[in-house]
Homo-oligomer: 368 residues x 2
């Protein structure tokens, strides 16, 4: 059963990849017709979109559609695929805002264009050019995501129904992103605030809203799908928080975050969240529990990019000693259990249950 | 006649203002429900959107609608208003990319949030926070523009018809923005390349596509409005170039750019394009015509923020001496005349002619 679900999800992921490839080919043709200067834009976005990504949001949209008992067409999967373009915007702008140098082991978009500026000995400031390119490539990916959704070929009634969910999702995303950026400016961490960010960025944007989007394409009447919408929230919101908490753990304790046994699709170096000084729920819980001496050591290490592997190891031990890791693991387990209960409820079409269960366990698995 | 058209446009501008006010009030309620940290986001976007702006794109959309002979409803004007939110995204991201300190005499959005960071003695880097806020506020304005269009209350068939034009417009905008950023990196200016940028950023994005958007809301069948679409292009594209050329002139020779006799709605300090080193058509024509000594002097001045009023005056004289000003004025006159010919063609409903003529003369007027 689980293997069937995994097989289905892998097949959907393949389709998403091929839909992205086709769309980007069309857009390359269009943009290069405007001017050959736009070819590096196409190159960079193709590399960014096609050489990595777990396709989580399209997969959740697929599962939300399946939860209605209907079978998704190629047009529906094209509509789900648009979420990858939205996510590209979020990541490109994220990397710019965080001033991150790399994404999936390659230069981040702003660094890539900064390098291009230097290689071509262009006039002006290379870093300013890189930043401007990242702003615009993110904007373009956002507009493309809309365009792919609109031209997916789904029925007009389905499209109009999806637009409502889609708009709400995007407003929540930008709000969550701002709260996240704002949090980095707080003088001390807060578990409550970090959990709220996790709810908006992961619970809603990554899981709940993609599920709703899928369902809204299958059942266009909002009242008719109300009960299902609620159950998908009961599954998606706790799962989203659990997913974010797992990501917090992986950011400090693990070397690789892969999904479906494919480590090449994504990865972040061990301890990166310490070097970046990321304000995660795990870190807020750690500092809440740490004694003064440990808290001071951890706080001093956060955001220091030059930390050695040994120093990272020391911080890890301090974090574990506070008991925060145990609390987070218990929290993940409880949230996952709530999600699985919702997945097994009667409102979910039996054909979709294994998909939801497979997605939930994959997204929160300790070691991928 | 002309006064009637001006009165109509002023009334539409008032309606756009009140629709923006209502929309922003709703969004403030929504976002402040997520978290009080989002109130400064609402404050900043309200100030940005309500305290200035010529509303050119909604006005051209109105004129495109009127060109069909139909009368726009409140829902239609709400749909036109969405273009102001898109323009807010373009300007906020523009100022960030250009590293401009001010917009309409007030701090640019990234500077405003940088100041907030300092005033509240937040943790982390103030400039990084300001930049991140500008990225996200621009993204949010882009998403809001979509949302306002979708919830404007126009018929579904009109909305679906408008989405197509709208997507094309936004892809062209991002392409034009990238070409503009890329142009700043060229080692020498080019009249052809600068004209192409003017075509995408002003011809298409500011004028042609808003006209098409208006027409697409009134006549939903693409084939049925084909002749009108073509005439609106014949009016909008030359007018857009003329508008950009006038803006080039104002950026160097005038103190104030206002429209409909209301100088408070916008303004740029005299000579700003010289201090910013902007790659305009006027500047490309100047350098093409200048002797070696003048060209060297002008090139050395471009982008120097510390230029005095006397130095600006000297550069102005050098520019005028090349004859480029005369060439640009003649070009504007020719383009405007083409636009006016199109405005008077039979495909345009007589009720819209004076609107189009008033908009064309206002947008290209020497002294507003």
């Amino acid at each position: 059963m689980v293997n069937d679900a995994r097989g289905t999800l892998l097949a959907v992921r393949e389709t998403v990849q091929s839909e992205l490839t086709s769309y980007l080919t069309l857009q390359r043709e269009y943009l290069s017709g405007i001017g050959s200067e736009l070819i590096p834009v196409c190159d960079a976005l193709e590399s960014f979109l096609l050489e990595g990504g777990k396709r989580l949001r399209p997969l959740f949209a697929y599962a939300g559609f399946a939860a209605t008992g209907k079978v998704a067409t190629a047009a529906d999967i094209r509509a789900f695929t648009s979420l990858e373009l939205l996510q590209a915007c979020a990541l490109i702008h994220d990397d710019l805002m965080d001033r991150s140098d790399t994404r999936r082991g390659k230069p981040a978009i702003h660094r890539h264009f900064e390098n291009l500026h230097q290689q071509e000995a262009m006039s002006g400031l290379a870093d300013q050019f890189g930043e401007a390119a990242a702003v615009l490539l993110g904007d373009l990916a956002l507009v493309w995501s809309d365009h792919l959704l609109h031209t997916s070929g789904v029925e007009n009634s389905a499209l109009l129904s999806a637009l409502k969910v889609h708009d709400e999702m995007r407003i929540e995303l930008m709000a969550g992103q701002y709260l996240d950026v704002r949090e980095a400016g707080e003088r001390s961490p807060s578990v409550d605030r970090s959990l709220r960010i996790a709810r908006y960025k992961s619970g809603k944007y990554t899981i709940e809203r993609p599920l709703h989007l899928g369902a809204s394409l299958a059942i266009t009447d909002e009242a008719e799908r109300k009960d299902l919408t609620n159950i998908l929230s009961a599954y998606g919101l706790p799962l989203g928080e659990a997913f974010q908490l797992r990501d917090d753990m992986l950011g400090i304790f693990d070397d690789m975050l892969g999904i479906f046994g494919d480590p090449s699709v994504t990865g972040k170096p061990a301890g990166d969240d310490i070097r970046e000084g990321k304000r995660t729920v795990l870190m807020a819980m750690t500092l809440e529990r740490a004694d003064q001496a440990s808290a001071a050591k951890i706080t001093a290490a956060l955001g220091r990019e030059d930390l050695t592997a040994d120093q990272i190891e020391e911080i890890r031990a301090l974090i574990t000693a506070t008991g925060a890791v145990k609390v987070v693991e218990d929290l993940i387990e409880g949230l996952l259990s709530n999600a699985l209960t919702a997945a097994n409820s009667d409102e979910i079409d039996p054909s979709a249950r294994e998909l939801l269960i497979e997605l939930a366990t994959s997204a929160t698995r300790r070691s991928h």
